[in-house]
Subunit: 432 residues, 2 copies
């Protein structure tokens, strides 16, 4: 084949504009690599007459999705419109028409991954999605290809830039969550409705995608246990630092004999862990494989040009497969059906902060409750007095989550325990 | 095609044994991913009867290279024997016979890359080499594919584990180079003849490969400027730490309007730079692209299983291309011919440690020499007295290397300057 590879771009927001800009900026280089130019033929927009973040020939803009999807001259559909309804419909239709698809849509993949990959396979087209996790960071292709010889044991990720920015700020400046969140909103690092980020939903979608690839079994968004960061205080961050830890919103996916665990929650991470120095809006994905050992991938997890970098990498690959008529070379790799472990069955350590009555015997009573549920304490520190109450910070040894939760329920009913102020898992140490 | 993909393995040392072990360990998983098993058909060894690090059917072992290369049933040759003479001959012959080649041989690629890639292209076979840089770290494929839409501005790497181990130890324990080197030799982290590592030759080979891919122009080992770490003292590491820096053996490849610079030398790196916390035998490659911004790839840069991880990933990819009859999909990307800048033309900052006579006017004389060559000083610290002499630590502003070297030549001739004890470039700040 010769002549340009024609692209139908669905969406011209932050990512779509980045894709247009990158193809303008590095078109000559990309043509050299591919042997053919990449050409944006049509762009789907909501309204044709609106100011744009990038220069585009207005004649390319259309509000007619079918006109793009049914255009026989368009080879590749690039979906960067977001959302799960229209995007799903368009992608499925495009694949039926024999077009390869590149998408950055984590929401869609984390919910309808199986349907989409089945459609790609049955239509013999490519479905690429490097930009759906970690923005510009190469992680999907390295996992699927470079590390394909490994059994992956664990994936740990800082995969949400907004929460990482907030926690980094809280940690550096000793400020509280609400205040830093408002500032992040003013700076455009957090949405007006920040729930998807701060409650861990966004990170959960990305972890569902990563876990599916890492363990070769379908994990959906609904399978991911999640907790957000809104209960973390500057005080907890400071206590954690005293103990040699940082607090991060962590995605964790692990496999053991019982199945797969996938969860997103704040976690204490040892200060010398490679993920501990991933700060601000940066993302990183830390992998443990049986051959490669520990590996980490670091970079900008969002933003117009970093995300466009991943999208354009996928477009080049999809175009190469067109050139060689080898679409569908690497398809869905979820060929197992592994059980998802309930969160109660996981084993980890915990950081706990309690407010208790300052009276002899209280500590013994608390330790007794833990001991009855086989929760053993690694350290107990009385941090300070808050009026009449004593603030206790405890770190447990590794324990089954259900036992810890049972113990906390009993503790909450003890008259001497006034508040279970903070419960955060401790991760990134040895996994035994 | 069905039936196994047959592999001829050249070499059964550390890496070769790892490849055999990994294919044994994860054979079922790999067969699932590929649709066919990978089978090691023949193994080239120096002597057939020798204890092995891995269990191999003795019937597979042979000392006859031609028997493997000419075997029409062998699809892929995996070269993990090292060296540049026999390995080059075997690889070229294998490609002539239509076999794809996977190699971990950085020495070979950094010297004869062009010849090898030309042979791969003219024979329509794949030549993959992920393991040649960064051991198990996925970096070649991410650069060639995921980041293909970027103009790469800079590649900085800690790509030699031995020197990183030594510098980390010196830094943590305040011990001197020779002592730590001996310990590293005892532990097997450094070779009996450590020159290739500590003089920067090994890192230079890897940087030649990375620079060739990053800038799409052929860079050979001979183009890389290099200095080793043997002149770095515990004292310099400690002074650097006081100033907020760590000292690493850094590979740096950059492009500007004048051409390409590729160099390997010790460097002061700000403590908050992502590469600064890469310690012990770990490697990392830090990339700056015009779209992706900053990205980093971290992991084990050597060792049997990590390197086997990269080799097996390449084997799977080569086998996939056999399945789809699309060998040679991604070939050499050195389609430009960019000039290599002489080291004298680079611009950077410098850390200098001088021993000078402690007398009024000495500092003015030194500052005058620098000023005459347009070297401006960012800071001057008199650290301590060594007998009669004063020890000065200076950091320059960004300056052209040749000017700095000229100034040092003049300084060395001043009677008041007793020793130019240490000269180390300062990197990883803003690049302007």
């Amino acid at each position: 084949m010769s002549g340009p590879v024609n692209i139908g771009l669905l969406g011209l927001g932050t990512v779509g504009s980045g894709v247009v800009r990158l193809l303008q900026q590095n078109g000559a280089l990309i043509t050299q690599k591919l042997g053919r130019p990449l050409k944006i033929s049509r762009v789907l927009v909501r309204e044709r007459n609106r100011p744009r973040q990038v220069e585009v020939d207005p004649a390319l803009l259309t509000t007619d999705a079918d006109g793009i999807i049914n255009d026989p001259d368009i080879h590749i559909i690039v979906e960067v419109m977001g959302g799960t309804d229209a995007a799903r419909e368009y992608i499925l239709k495009a694949m039926e028409r024999g077009k390869s698809v590149v998408t950055a849509n984590k929401d869609l993949l984390a919910l309808y991954g199986k349907e989409l990959f089945d459609a790609a396979a049955s239509n013999g087209v490519d479905l690429f999605f490097e930009a759906s996790v970690g923005g510009g960071i190469p992680i999907i292709r390295p996992l699927k290809e470079c590390l394909a010889g490994n059994k992956i044991r664990q994936v740990m990720g800082i995969v949400n830039g907004t929460t990482n920015y907030i926690l980094t700020k809280m940690s550096r400046e000793g400020r509280d969550f609400q205040e830093v969140l408002r500032e992040a909103q003013d700076l455009g690092y957090a949405e007006a409705d920040p729930a998807a980020d701060i409650e861990g939903d966004d990170a959960a979608r990305k972890m569902a995608i990563l876990a599916s690839i890492a363990f070769n079994t379908r994990v959906t968004y609904r399978d991911v246990y999640r907790e957000g960061i809104s209960r973390i205080t500057a005080q907890d961050i400071s206590y954690a630092a005293d103990l040699g830890y940082v607090i991060k919103l962590l995605g964790i996916a692990r496999e053991d004999e019982e199945g797969i665990e996938v969860r997103v929650h704040p976690a204490l991470l040892p200060g010398n862990h490679p993920l501990a120095s991933v700060n601000d809006v940066f993302n990183a994905i830390f992998i443990e494989g049986d051959a490669v050992g520990e590996a980490m991938f670091y970079g900008r997890g969002a933003g117009s040009m970093p995300t466009a970098s991943a999208v354009v990498g996928d477009i080049i690959e999809a175009a190469r497969n067109l050139n060689y008529q080898t679409r569908g070379r690497i398809t869905c790799t979820c060929f197992y059906d592994k059980p998802i472990k309930p969160v109660g069955t996981i084993n980890t350590k915990y950081y706990l902060r309690l407010l208790v009555v300052d009276r002899p015997g209280v500590l013994a009573a608390i330790a007794g409750v833990f001991g009855d549920r086989e929760v053993s304490l690694a350290s107990v520190i009385q941090e300070r007095m808050l009026g009449e109450l004593a603030e206790l910070v405890l770190i447990t040894h590794r324990v089954r989550e259900q036992n810890l939760q049972d113990a906390l329920k009993v503790l909450a009913g003890l008259p001497v325990v006034k508040e279970i102020a903070c419960v955060v898992r401790v991760e990134g140490g040895e996994n035994v």
